[in-house]
Structure formats: structure tokens, C-alpha cells
Symmetry: D2
Subunit: 180 residues, 4 copies
Amino acid sequence: MSDIEQLATSGAWLTPDDLSSARERLPIVYVDAVPVRVDDAGRVVAIGLLLRAMADDTISRAVVTGRVLYGETIRAALVRHLNKDLGPLAQPQLPPNPSPFTIVEYFPDPTVTGFVDPRQHAVSLAYIVPVLGECYPAPESLDFSWVTPAEAASKEVSSEMTGGQDRLVRMALAHVGCLP
Amino acid sequence: MSDIEQLATSGAWLTPDDLSSARERLPIVYVDAVPVRVDDAGRVVAIGLLLRAMADDTISRAVVTGRVLYGETIRAALVRHLNKDLGPLAQPQLPPNPSPFTIVEYFPDPTVTGFVDPRQHAVSLAYIVPVLGECYPAPESLDFSWVTPAEAASKEVSSEMTGGQDRLVRMALAHVGCLP
Amino acid sequence: MSDIEQLATSGAWLTPDDLSSARERLPIVYVDAVPVRVDDAGRVVAIGLLLRAMADDTISRAVVTGRVLYGETIRAALVRHLNKDLGPLAQPQLPPNPSPFTIVEYFPDPTVTGFVDPRQHAVSLAYIVPVLGECYPAPESLDFSWVTPAEAASKEVSSEMTGGQDRLVRMALAHVGCLP
Amino acid sequence: MSDIEQLATSGAWLTPDDLSSARERLPIVYVDAVPVRVDDAGRVVAIGLLLRAMADDTISRAVVTGRVLYGETIRAALVRHLNKDLGPLAQPQLPPNPSPFTIVEYFPDPTVTGFVDPRQHAVSLAYIVPVLGECYPAPESLDFSWVTPAEAASKEVSSEMTGGQDRLVRMALAHVGCLP
């Protein structure tokens, strides 16, 4: 078991009670990763969306997301969450630069930024991550599917996302030049 | 007193003990702001450096930096720390895009990223902020001075910075095309 | 008359025939600048749109755009076009970093990228430029108006733009975190 | 032969005389690509440098660079030059976003930006490109080698680069968080 896996599963850092208490008093560091398929020239041809139970009690489509643990680097957190959500054969290609394409600020209050997390104030670093291999989502996800950029920006798919994830996907599409 | 000022000074969020405890178990969200003077075409002509007592017990040059509070947006935290460190007449021009030019990961252990904070694991969003007005640094700073990009990248000035702040300044200079 | 103004108006570089000939054989360097109003925390509150006769023979809304001349820096070209299109009192705040938020590739053929210029293959570096002063657009523009981010992304305003400028505006809105 | 290869080799666009003439009157669009090796978490572990005869008549180390042809997209130009300079097995992973990490403005006059091309005024879009496969540089290159980030930023390697390429490499290192 690698250090990072141990770190992720040991639970030594925060008990559920402690985490719950911290969430009421500190912004929590998150990462969001938008999985994409690219062609030989790096152009995005598809966006990967999970279907999962969300913190807001809906079943919704979502990108890969998760907390950064104490002592864990951003890259290690990205690798861990991508591995957990897309399976060990996904071969995610993390960008060489550490700068996220945007910052998403989630608040329990939906009027602050429009990005909502009912549990906490989270500051999420958002990345676009090309995935070369096959994706086998974790059992806790109900589904994983690739959609075209046009589908990802459509009203139909947007309506299946909550908490502002549809806006995050459109921001990702804009960043890669694929927003219709 | 504005909401943000109240939020910053009330201490209602975390007692010193609570903060100390949280710092041992969660990465803490920070912002770093590199103050710059620009010419009429937006070209950086000077970098602003504070002289202050640091968390590592040195007196060193440093950029503007500080914690993001619970419930506070990144922009509000930047405005608050810039106001506190450069005075109320500085007129900082925050970038319209929320994406930082880099992410700095500070760890107590200097071997992880080379960026060091002896108190905590901090994830800092770093911005370059043009300043139009006059700077009157807070009493807790010993000095504030503008240096040229070449001076900021020099060995002499670098040797007056600790915890990796000299590297952060060089990364900022590179981002604005002024690294010698 | 400044060097740049002289450079812009002298016409010594290319006769209309020469320019026309070059346009058939080389990609031409352009800049696009999206003028924005920001609040005290740098958040975009309005987008500036010109109303003008376009290369495609329509009267359309558009952002500031123009060619980079031989011997002219990108910053000088931006200052020149912003000055010409928004007037001498606009006080545009060019970003300190030279990296554009996106690259727009205009082709006569609308199927290549969806960005169209019937005259030429242009590679345009696109920037978001906060404007502090008053805008008095040049006589060749029919109008200039500020619209909210929501209006800028609306179908109504989008339908008044051609050549892909509506997509460019949405990409700019996404970059500053204001795409609805 | 693909369309792009045909476009690259046909020579139908500009005769040498025409290109020479255009270079005296228009900025020419270029791309610069810094080849990098990354680890499983996307962290840059090596920089690839060619050894080649340069436009300034030196034999110097350099990154991949070349002109964008009329009708060619930026991505197609990057693929073509990477293929030509690193060989057909390099498997370059172009970034999904079209925004370059910086813009390099080359002028015959070394005092304008410090980036020099004795032949022309070139505006170059600079990208960092992870390379997964083996590199077999074209016969016109004398050598290709991988160096560590620390070596790439060293005085020794810098002194083997001309025209500002050493600065471009340091800017790339800063962007990926690897500038010493």
C-alpha cells in the first residue's frame, strides 16, 4: 500500500466528528477534475461524466471531485480521486502546470457564488484531465459516460447536474475552445 | 465595520487553540498576492516587497499573504490582506479571472515542495496584483519597498527571502515575461 | 505624434494591394480585447460591445479587434486599438501577463474553427481588459454599450454578433467566472 | 500524404522570395513547443533540447519551433513541427486548451523584448508539450537530449542557447513549478 493510499484510507487525520466540526469553521481544500478524451492534436472530443449520489441528496451527473488531505499534494489528491472514480486503467494525464483553469468556491448559501455544497465552504482547484485508458467507475458511482462537447453544454445534460456542476462543465468547455 | 472586517477580527470562527488544532489536521486555504507597478501598457516595472517577521522566526522580505476565512470569498480575502498589508490607499487592481497564476503548496517538511511553512500545510492561490495608489504598510511590517524585476530576481534580494518566497517571486516574474 | 501612432497611420508597411496579397498567403496576427467594467474586488460587472460595420458586410456588435503591425509589440497594438475604438479617456488596464486567455483562429472557411473572417486567415490573441475611464467610441463605430454578463451571454445579444464573436464573448465570460 | 503534410511540403504558399519580402513587412506567426517528460502525477522531470544550426548562424540548443502556414491551425502546426523535430514516435500530448503559457515576440532588434530573430518579426505562441514516446530528431538537428529542470535552468545550459531561448526555457520551468 502506497503512502498516499494509506493516507487516504487510514482515517487517522480526522474522525467524522472532527471533520464535521472543521467544516463549520474552515474552508476545505478540494480538487475538481473534468475528464476528457482528446484526438491526436489534443482537441477535446468528449467529456466524461459520472452519475452519482450527491451531497445535496440528488442522483446527478458530476465530474471527479474530492477533498485534499492533510500532508497530501494537489497532484497526489488528483491521482487518488481520478483512480477511485475512473478506475486503475484510466491513465489520466495530469497537466504539467499546477495552475488550475479556474477556482470554484462552493458555499452552503447558493447566493454567494452559485456553486453550492450543503455540507461546507469548499475552495476547489479545477483541472481538465485527458484520459487515455479505459474507465471503470467505482461501485459508488451508478454510471460513467462520455458525451460530446455539444451534449455536455446542452440543456438536457445541464439539467441533470446540480450545485453548479453544469456551469463548471461549460467553463471547462470554454477553456478548451469547445463551448458551442 | 464591514462584514468582512468583522469576520476578520471577530475571532468567532476559531479560537487560537482550535486553529492550532485544525492546522495539524487539514490543509489551510491561503492567498499570496505579488504587488506590482505597471506602465501604461500593463508592463511590470516594479515588484513590491514587505519586510516582516515571518512564521519561521526570521525578518525577511515577503509578498502579501494570508488565510482565507470561513465564509469569505477568495476575492474578499485578497482585498482584506492587500488592504491590511499595503494600506487603504493602495488601489489594488485584482485580476478579473479567478484562476491564480500558480498554486503554492507550503509544508512544514521542506523536502516536499520546497515551499515551507513551519506552522501548517497551506494551499495558497497566488495572484499578481497591479497597485495604482500609494502603499502605507501596516505597523506589523517593518518596511515596504519597490524593486525592479532584475533586482527582485537577483541573488541579493533572493537571499533576503525565506520559505520559498524568492521562488514565488521568480515564478511571478516569469508569468509577466520579466524574468531575466 | 508617437512612434506607434506614426507606425499605425503611415501606411509605409504595406500598400492595400500588398496587404491583400499577403492575406492570401500568410496568417495575419491580430489582437481581440474584451472591454470589461469591474467592481472593487475585480469582479466583472459589465462587458463593453461596439456596434460596427463588419468585414462580413453586416452591422454587428463586436469587441475591440485589430491587426498587429510590423515592428509593433502586442501591448502597443492593444493600446492602439483600445484607444482608437474606445477613445483616449478609456484608461484600459492591460493585464501584466502576456498570455492571452484564448487564441481565436479566424478562417474564410466557416467549417474550420467556426470563427470566420472572409478576408483572411487571422490568428488572434484574445485578452480581457478592465476599463476604468469613460468610453467615446470612434466615429466609425455606430455605438458602444455596456451590457451585464447575463445579457452578453443571452440569445438576444448573441444573435447580434457574427463571425463567432458571440462565442468569444462567452469564452471571456467563462474565463472570468461569469458565464451563466 | 495527409492534407497537412501536403500543405507543409508543397511550397505553394510562398516562394522563398515572397516569404523574404513578407518577413520585412508583417509579423509572422510561430509556435514554440517545450518538450517535457512527466511522471505519473504529471510533474515535469526532464526538458528536451535540440542542438541545431540557428537563424543567427550559431550551433545552439533550442526547443521545437516553426512557422504556422496559411490555412493551417495552431494545433496542426504544432503536430507538424513536433513530428519533424522529434520524429514520428514521440507521441506528443498537446494541451487541451488553446491558450499558450506565454507569447514570445521575436524582433531583429535585440533591445525590444530581448527575444531575437535576425530574419523577422515573429509572434510565437509557446506551449509545454509532454512527450510519451521515443524521440528521433530530424537529420537537420545535430542532437537531442533530455536534461533535468535544474540543468535546464543552469548557467551552463543557458549559455548554449541564443536569441532568448534560455529565458523561454526558464519561463516554461516557472509555469510548471520547476524553476529552481
